[in-house]
Amino acid sequence: MLPYLGPALFSIAALLGLFHRKASYLMLAASSIVFAATQFVYGDYLSYYSIIAGIVWVFAGIYSLSYGERYGKWLASLMSLTVLGMSIILVSNNYLALIAGWEIMSVPSYAIVALNKSQKGPAFTFMTFSEFSTVLIIAGAIFSFVVSGNSTFGFIHLATFVPLLLISFGALIKMGMSPFMISEWLPIAHGNAPANASAVFSATMTLMGVFLITRMIFLTAASPALVYIGILFLIIGSISILFASIYAYISENMKMLGGFSTIENQAAILAAFGLYLVTGSAILQEFVLVTIIIFALSHAVSKTGLFLSIGSTKGEYFGEARAPEDRWMRVGTLLSTMSLSGLFPAIGGLAVWMLLESFFMQAYLGGYIGIVSIIVGSIIAISEGMATGAMMKILSFSALFRARKGPASKVETVTVFSVGAAILILFIISVLFVPAIFRGGIPSVLVFNGFTIESRFSTADFGLLSPDYVIALITALSLAAFAVFRRPKTRTADVWNSGRSVSSEYTSFAYANNIRLMLRRVLRTRMGNDNQPVSVIDVFWFAMNSFGRGYRRMCMIATRKFMNSSIAWYMIYMIIAFMIVIILAVAFY
C-alpha cells in the first residue's frame, strides 16, 4: 500500500485546495516528499523518475505559497489533480491505471490553461494533442493486451515492437515532438499557464513521456526492428533539438521560450533513447541509461527554476519583464539557465557532457551507426550552443539587465534560489548517481578514486569528468582571485552616447534577430506588419495547420458536393469506411 500513499495525499491536497489555497500547496509540497521517499528503490531506474518528479513538485508547491495568491483556489486544486495524475502514472503497474493517470494529468491541465486566460485557442490546442496522445497510448495498450492472449492489461514483456512504437509516439506528443518534429502546442500551452503550472507541465508532464518510453523499452525484447526504431528516434531527436533550440532563441515570449527549451531537452533525451536502441554495446547502453536519468533530472529541476524565475518577473514577454531586485533570485536564475545551457558547474553541464560522450563513444565503435552517431552528436552540440544563447537571452533580459526593476517576494526568492542551489548540489553529488563501473579516479594527480565519472567501454577511459574537482577548482580559484584583488571597485555611469540625448536600450528581439536574418530560408523571415518589425514562421506548425485546414476543406467539399442531401453517397461513404476499418482490424489482428 505504501506506493499509493503519495497519490492518496495528492488527492487530499486537491480537495484541500477547494477550501484553502496555501494549505493545499503546502500539502502538495509535503506529499511530494512522501511520494518520492516511498517510491525510491536503489538501482531501479524507473523509480528515479518519481524522485525527479517529487523534487519538482516540492519546489512548485512552496513557490505557489506566494505565487498562487495571484490566482483563484481553482489553481491549487487543479495543480494537485495534475500531480495526482502523474503520480498514478509513476506507480501504475498496468496499462489501465497508466491511461487513467494520463487522463487525470491531462484534463486538469487543460482546465488550468483554459481558466488562466480568456483565449480558447491554447486550451483547445492542449486538449487536442493530449487526447491524440491518449489514443496512441490506448492503441499500444490494446496491442499489448492482444499479444498477451487477451489475458492482461499488465506490463508484460513484449516480443513485438508495436506497443513500444505506438506508446512512444503517444509520449512524444506530450514531449512536444510528434506528430511533427516540433509541435508548437507545447510552448503555446505551457506559455499560457500560470508560471507554477508551467513549471509542473514543462518539467514533469514531459518527464512522464520519458518515463513511459523507458518503461516500454524495458518491456520490449531485443530485435532487429529496435535498431530501426532507434534510428527513427535519432532522426526525430536531432531535427527536433536543432529546431527547438532555434525557436527558443528567437522567442519573445519567455514562457514559450521555456517551452521550446523543453522540446529541445526532450529531443536530446529522445536521441539518447535512440542511441540506447541502436548500440550493440551493453556497457554503452548502461551509460546511456544513466545519461537519460541525469538529463531528465537536470531538465526537470532546471526548468522548474526557469519557470519559477519567469513567474517572478510578472510578465510573459521580455518587454513586460520586471527583474526582481534580489541578488539571490538572480543567483537562482543564473544557475537554472546555466544548467539548461549545459554549462558547468550545473547538473545540466554534466548531462550534456554525458550525452555527447555517449554519441562519440558510439562513433568510436564505427560502422554506419557510428557515422549516424557522429552526425547526431554534432547536431546536439550545435543545438546546445544555440540553447546557451537562448538561456543567456532569458537571463540577461529578465534578470540581469532590465532597466525596470520590480519587487521580489521572499518565498519566491527562496524557492528560486533553492532550485539553483539544488542544481549545484546535484552536480556536486552527481558521482553518486552513476553505477560503480563508471566511477574512477586518478590518484597519481590527486584525483582520488570515486571522484570521477568516466565514460568507458572497459577499463580504459573514453573521457572523464570530476564534478567535485570542477567545483573545488572554481571555488579555490575564485577565492584566490578574491584574496588577491578583493572586491572589485565598480561605479555606475550614465551611458555616453557621443554627447547625444539618444538613449535606447538593446532589446531581446534585437539579440536574436541575427538568427532570424541568417536562417531566413528556414524560418521564412519576413518584414513584419505594423506591430512587428520582423516575423518568422514555425514551418512545422504552419505545415500542420495547413494540413488541418486542407483536410477540413476537403471534408467540406465532400460533404457539400457529394453527400449533401444524397443518402446514396452517404451510404457509399459509410460502406467504404466500414470496409477499411474491417480490413485494418483483420490485418493487425
Binding site: 519573445e252 518587454g319 552616447n497 557621443s498 554627447g499 547625444r500 539618444v502 535606447s504 536600450e505 538593446y506 532589446t507 531581446s508 528581439f509 534585437a510 539579440y511 536574436a512 534577430n513 541575427n514 536574418l517 518584414m527 513584419g528 505594423d530 506591430n531 512587428q532 518589425p533 520582423v534
Partner: protein, 389 residues
Amino acid sequence: MRYYRFGNPEGRFIGNTEKYAAYENVISEHRHEIGAESYQNLPGEFTFAYGPATGGLIESVAFDLHTPGELIKHVGVDPYVKTRPLKIRGLAPQDALLMVERINGFHAASNALAFEMAVEDALDIDVPDRVWYSRLIMLELERIRSNLEVVKRVCEPAGFGVPQNQISYLRENVARIISRLAGHRYFFSASSIGGCQISKSGIETMISSVKREFGEIFNALLESKIFLNRLQNNGNINEGDLLGPAARAAGRNVDARLEEMHMPYADLGFKPFIFDEPDAFGRFYVRSQEILASTDMISEALEHSGNSSATDTAGASGEGAARVESPQGDLFYYVRITDGRIEDIQMSSPSLLNIEAFRKSMAGNIFTDYHFNWESFGIWISELAVVIQ
C-alpha cells in the same frame, strides 16, 4: 544672370540653399520640401546612435539607426551636429574666394570654380577659353582624387588592405600632381575671379601613369567575388532626386557637365558614364569609370589650357548663379554683389540630396552593409554644415 532666372520650379531639382531652391535653370524662392520623416520604434526595435565622433567616420555626422537588430529599418541622419560659421557676406569676391575654397578642402576646386563662375556671371566678366580648359583640368583632377578616395574607403570596410593602400598611394600621387599643377595640394588660390594660374609641365605623363595603375587595381577588384558581394544590392536607390554618380549609376543621364556653357566638355566629346545598377557597386563602378575618363579628358585639355590673371571687381554690382559637376554631383552657387562686396551668397551642396538618397537606400540593409553604402555616396558633411554669414 545669364544662365539662371528666378521663377517657378522647373526641371531637375538640384538642392536647397539657405533661402532658395535651385533647379536646372531656375531659382525658386520657395525651398523644395525634403520630407523629414520621423520614426517611432516598433516593439523590439531600438535606436542605435552612431556618430557624430566615432571610428569609421571622417566627419562629424550623427546617425540614428532604428533597428530590431542587424536589420536597419530606418535611418535618421543629422549632418548639422558640428556647424562652421563662415563670414563671407560683406567681403570682396576675391577675399570671399579664400573662404569658399575652404568650405570643403577636398572639393576646393569645385567650390571655388562654382563661386567664381557665379561672380563672373554677376559681373559679366569674360574668361579666356584657355582658362576654361585649365579650370576643366582642375575639376577633373579633383574628381580623380575624390573618386580615388571613395574607392579607397569602399575597400576599407571590406578589409581589403592591399588595394586600399595601393589606392592611397595613387591618391597621394594625384595630390602631388595637383600640387605641381596648382602650387597647392588642394588647389587653394590656383584660380581666381576671371583667371587661373596653373603649371602643366610633366602632368600628362604622370596622369597617364595614374590611369594605368588604377586600371589594374580596378580590374583586380572586379575579379573579387567577396568584394563585389559586399557592394551588389547594397543600398539600392532609384527613386527621388539623385545627383552625380548616384544618379548615373541608377541609369539617369544627369550631369552638370552636359549643361556646361563655358568649360569645353562638349568640345572634348564628353559623355557621362551611365550604368544600370543603382547600388553601392553601381556607384563604385561609375566613379571608377569616371577616374579613367577624366584622365583622358585632362590629357586632351592640357594642350589648350593656359593662364590669365584675376579681374578686378572693385565697385561692381550684379547678381549671378552657376553650377558645376563636383565629384559628388551638382554644386550650385548664387551671389549678389553690391559695390564690389558680397551682399548675399547662397550655396547648395549635392550632399543634401545624396544624404537623403543614402537614408532611403539603407532601409532593409543590415549593419555590415552600412559602411559600404555610406562611402559609396562619397558624401562630404563639411559642405552642408557650413553656415555662411
